[in-house]
Amino acid sequence: MKLAIWLLLILALSSIVGTLIPQEGPGVHLHLSPGLLKVFNALQLSDFYHSFLFLSLAGLLGLNLLVCTTRRLPSLVRSVRNASSGGIPANAHRTEINVAGEDTGSTMLKLEGIIRYRYGKVSREESSGGVTLSAQRGRHKRLILSLAHLSILVIIFGMIAGRFTGFDAYVELAEGTSTDRAYLNSNPGVVDLGFTVRCDAFKADFYDNGMPKEFLSELSFLEDGRTVQQGSLMVNHPVSFRGIRFYQSNYRVGYDARLNVVQGSDNESITASAGKEYMLDDQVTRIRILRIEDDFMKMGPAVQLDVSGPDSHGQVWVFKYIQEISSAIPDLFTRAPQFNPGRFAPFVFSLDGLTHHYITGLSVNRDPGGVIVAAGSLAFFLGIFTALLIPRKRIWAECRDGKISITVQPGISPGTPDEEILHILKEVNGELR
């Protein structure tokens, strides 16, 4: 147990490390010298709680727990059956009693009655030296406590099982779009969900003072193109489908651009979203939307396009307020040709404005180990709680060489050993008189 105390303290001390060093933060490596970075990587300091050092400490503690508990278990089971197993402990409270004018045999008989009344079953041992009576209350306390300790191993097992069989992922869905995959958080990788999830709508509610009130995603789950289940996802109210749970994690605002493309007498309007590619009316020139900005360089809404035609290729920024900007800066197009909406003649681009929509951020995970962890935690808690409620008390009455002594060993319980012995003495004497 001494080792256990040291391990607990070392584990506590080493846990501090990970709270002081940002864990898996992208900025952490930037501020370190190469030498220091090597130390960091060798000790896995930026993923400390999954590092070899931390896991082996936790493993050692688990091993210590397992060995100690299993070694004690047989004697604990024995002590449930028999109070005096293991003998009378040296630190127990022992008092000799004198009973005048009566033989020890009948006093012991009385004591047996009193102890049976107060403690329940009494076991009687006769040896050459004399007679020993023993009894105990709260016989299951230590066994329950040991089982509670073992349930910590169940928790650890559940955590490991969850790590190997489950996943933690993330996906962003714009309103009206759907996906059948999510992106792993820990390492680059994609999870195939096995079904399609669609965000039908997203709502962000705010209080009058501007604080957020509620974020809500309306989700539909589809299999083979058919909607199988629908649900409203809110913070603190996850939605589950086919064993995979979805959580409202965050949201952001996305923009669509209402673009106009004039080519001679042809006027074409496009509602464009970032990252998408569009074919213009001449059926040769393509535009790709690189960026859509709500307020670019304090000059209002703007869209950056990548234009690739048969004999030209390049990029252009299209501002909504290009008239005002170019009249304020007369030589703008010579200084910054990339701001000229007519850069790719014969096309002239203009931006009517932006429409916004929400993009909801969902945490997606599966954790089959969670149930095991929950069961282990519950068992641990119930174990230590009931063990606390059960006071364990043991009593021995010995008759040796014509002298009677009573020994009491209290657990955590009201009443001191002295009070207990005094009480028993009163009963013995009361019956004698």
Partner: protein, 269 residues
């Protein structure tokens, strides 16, 4: 309204503290009794202040328990400490630890009420806090904290006794009491961590994420687990046990205050 009451409670606790000092310095029992009466009166007013604040939040249309920002958590922490003090005092009227407990409650109340950086306004709940787990998680955690504070006060007292008398016998009863309070605190704190992880599982999609607050709660839990085991080993009981309890207090305070200076998800406390 509620902040006025709670402001007054601050001064009642200060007055009770003054009486406990007089009790020690002048050695008159009735000062201790007066201190306890004031403490109890302050506690009643404190409770009323919390209830009024709860009711008031309903009038504002928010309707949530007063456990959702730094001001409210300080006030509640102070309340749990006084609650525990009165509980221990009612079982073993000794009036010896009042002189340590009341200043702690007073400082938390004064910090909450008079620090310019802390808003005492009732604010609505952000989505992450809108959970049935809020009340059970916060209450159990703070009851655990409060028990640890009281156990630490006794430990300091125990170490002082040990120095003064030089042997453990005169302080034996105190050690037993520290242990009992620690067990109560440990159980509450364990429930606090468990409810917290159930809540985290439904809010963030994981029951444990090594967020600084979570990690420091684990550190505190590990230290007190070691203290509980230390009591059972002869060479670790007594002095070392009491020192462990005090180290645990440092960890409790860091879990509560210090973590806010580290990046993490518990920024609202």
């Amino acid at each position: 309204m509620n902040t006025t009451i709670l402001g007054w409670v601050t001064f009642i606790y200060l007055a009770a503290f003054a009486f406990f000092i007089l009790r020690i310095v002048l050695g008159r029992r009735y000062f201790g009794i007066a201190g306890n009466i004031l403490t109890a009166a302050g506690f009643v007013a404190h409770t009323a202040g919390l209830v009024f604040r709860w009711v008031e939040s309903y009038h504002l249309g928010y309707g949530h328990a007063p456990l959702s920002n730094f001001y409210e958590s300080l006030v509640f922490f102070s309340w749990t400490i006084v609650l525990f003090y009165l509980f221990v005092e009612s079982r073993k009227a000794a009036s010896t630890i009042g002189v340590f407990c009341l200043p702690i409650s007073f400082i938390f109340m004064a910090y909450a009420s008079f620090s310019p950086g802390i808003s005492s306004q009732i604010q609505p709940l952000i989505p992450a806090l809108k959970s049935n787990w809020l009340i059970s998680h916060v209450i159990t955690c703070f009851l655990g904290y409060a028990a640890f504070v009281i156990a630490s006060v006794y430990s300091a007292f125990y170490l002082y006794r040990l120095r003064a008398s030089g042997h453990a016998a005169s302080a034996n009863g105190i050690e037993e009491r520290i242990y009992q309070i620690l067990v109560i605190g440990f159980i509450f704190f364990t429930i606090g961590i468990m409810t917290g992880s159930v809540w985290a599982n439904s809010a963030w999609g994981r029951y444990w994420g090594w967020d600084p607050k979570e990690t420091w709660a684990l550190i505190t839990w590990l230290i007190y687990a070691s203290a509980l085991h230390a009591r059972l080993i002869h060479s670790w009981s007594g002095k070392r046990f009491a020192i462990l309890v005090l180290i645990g207090l440092a960890s409790v305070l860091f879990t509560y205050f210090g973590v806010n200076y580290l990046p993490g998800l518990h920024s609202y406390l």
